[in-house]
């Protein structure tokens, strides 16, 4: 930062520092050196500004300056004062504030340069800044306007009455079997399970039987192996059941328990096999 920025203010009017805080009604322009200021408090102060444009607007309004005629050197000095204060206090300064500082410094240096005779065509170096300040200011105002609109929850209370008693059966989605099959095909495609070229008929009845056996085991924890089979189903039915049992054994769904050779085989849910004592009891009650 150049010394000029920190230099003495050119006139008394601008000498009024922005109050850093109001303490018991007294404006405090600089934090007392011997006073510890909790960083949190400064963050609150910094949060009062929505950004560098907001801070600049504040500095301009504060002194009743015309936005179209900003005394750039003075405003820059004050702006840098704030930036330095924030830096001294080791506040984490949003990068946008520093970008603005650079922009101000650049405008100031361009203002110092002698202007060419054809100054009419050349834009005032402040023009872009003024545009942005104006543009920001109108939306700052628009935000306040929106905030002032009557709104639901605060000023507007929509009303409602209890709906009349009526039959309201929620409709459940309809599904076509085709949809289901297409969905499944899509999963298989994604899982690349169509790689087998000679897929035979998958006996889904085995899987169905697995569910049925599991259900039976949920009702009675131990079922004699033979009782799983229904001879009336014919040979195919028996095979299906047998395949289902093997499949479930493989998948750790069930356990087969046989106390000794030639003793009855029991089927139980996996992990729930009876210990020896219980097994004895079952044998006793069953036979």
């Amino acid at each position: 930062m150049s010394t000029e920025i920190h230099g003495p203010p050119p006139n008394a009017h601008a000498q009024e520092e922005m109050p850093f805080a109001i303490v018991r009604g007294e404006p405090l322009s600089m934090p007392p050196k011997d006073l510890y200021i909790p960083p949190d408090a400064l963050e609150v102060f910094l949060e009062a500004f929505e950004g560098p444009l907001d801070l600049l607007l504040y500095l301009i309004k504060r002194q009743n300056l015309d936005i179209l005629d900003i005394p750039i050197a003075e405003i820059t000095r004050q702006y840098m004062g704030y930036i330095d204060l924030m830096k001294d206090l080791r506040l984490e300064l949003a990068a946008e504030y520093l970008v603005m500082a650079a922009m101000l410094a650049e405008i100031k240096s361009r203002m110092l340069l002698p202007r060419p005779a054809s100054a009419d065509e050349e834009e005032d170096p402040r023009a872009e800044l003024v545009r942005r300040l104006q543009e920001y200011e109108r939306f700052k105002k628009a935000a306040l306007d929106i905030d002032a609109l009557p709104r639901v929850e605060r000023d507007i209370f929509p009303v409602a009455a209890e709906p009349p008693p009526m039959e309201r059966k929620p409709k459940l989605p309809d599904v076509e079997l085709t949809e289901l099959l297409l969905a499944f095909r899509e999963v298989l495609r994604r899982a690349e399970m169509f790689s087998h070229h000679h897929i035979q008929r998958e006996p889904l009845s085995v899987r169905e039987r697995m569910s049925q056996v599991l259900e039976a085991l949920n009702e009675a924890p131990f079922v004699e192996f033979q009782k799983l089979f229904t001879p009336e189903e014919g040979r195919r039915g028996v095979v299906v059941t047998f395949l289902a049992v093997l499949e479930m054994l493989k998948g750790h769904l069930i356990d087969l328990v046989q106390q000794e050779p030639y003793a009855p085989i029991y089927v139980s849910l996996a992990g729930k096999a009876p210990d020896d004592e219980l097994y004895e009891n079952i044998l006793e009650t069953d036979f």
């Binding site: 008693p165 989605p173 297409l182 298989l188 035979q200 998958e202 006996p203």
Partner: protein, 233 residues
């Protein structure tokens, strides 16, 4: 307080509250000095009830207080507000259902493994509430995850006698070529025909043999399983 203003305040409050209000709660709307007598509140409520006699709603006293309720006489029209088009199930739900149908009994983790994405609890709940799936057991691995299977209602809804009526994987590949109505019970559908008829009959020897050796995986397109019982992709 002006009885008319009191009436308007109570009317506005009852309509805005979205729940019944007791006389106590109505009383609390007023500051100390404006505080109307309870009798005045009661009178206002009575007047409000009479005011809306020819209107689309009425004042009702229920257990927790007073509320306005739309009249039953207009219910046939008003109920149309809730008559939405039946919603549609998501692709994720249909895929989950299909996997349970074809690969049952199957755990959620296995479904996720195949689909490559998590199965939301919502989907499982929706399918269970619809009674299309249910827990048929638990796999004996750490956590004892639930095993899902389809129900009788599932078969009924899709007009299937048994799961065997579902097309085979091979048929699925040719789904596009199949008859749009997917008349699986038709006699010209090759493999998918006849399962019921065949059910009672003896099976061709070859298939029985395979079954006898317990080599289900030759005829079943089996997903390889890891030792912990989960299915690999």
């Amino acid at each position: 307080m002006d009885p008319d203003l009191l009436k308007r305040i109570i009317e506005g409050a009852l309509l805005a509250a979205n729940r019944p209000l007791s006389i106590d709660q109505l009383e609390r709307l007023f500051d100390g000095d404006q505080h109307p007598e309870r009798a005045a509140i009661r009178a206002a409520l009575k007047a409000l009830g009479e005011d809306c006699e020819s209107r689309g709603y009425e004042l009702k006293e229920v257990a927790s207080g007073y509320r306005f309720q739309v009249r039953e006489t207009v219910a046939p029209w008003v109920s149309r507000l809730w008559e939405e088009k039946p919603p549609r199930y998501t692709r994720a739900l249909l895929e989950t259902l299909a996997l349970i149908a074809y690969r049952q009994p199957i755990t959620r983790a296995e479904i996720e493994e195949i689909r490559g994405v998590a199965v939301s609890t919502h989907i499982v709940r929706t399918l269970s509430e619809r009674e299309w799936i249910r827990v048929v057991g638990h796999r004996d691995v750490p956590g004892r995850p639930a095993l899902f299977g389809t129900t009788r209602q599932f078969l009924d809804y899709f007009n299937l006698q048994s799961l065997d009526d579902l097309p085979t994987l091979a048929e699925l590949r040719d789904l596009d070529k199949m008859h749009p109505e997917l008349d699986f019970n038709g006699p010209d559908e090759g493999d998918s025909s006849a399962p019921e008829a065949a059910e009672e009959d003896s099976l061709p020897a070859a298939e029985t043999d395979e079954a006898g050796e317990g080599e289900a995986s030759d005829t079943v397109v089996e997903l390889p399983r890891t030792p912990d019982g989960r299915t690999l992709q």
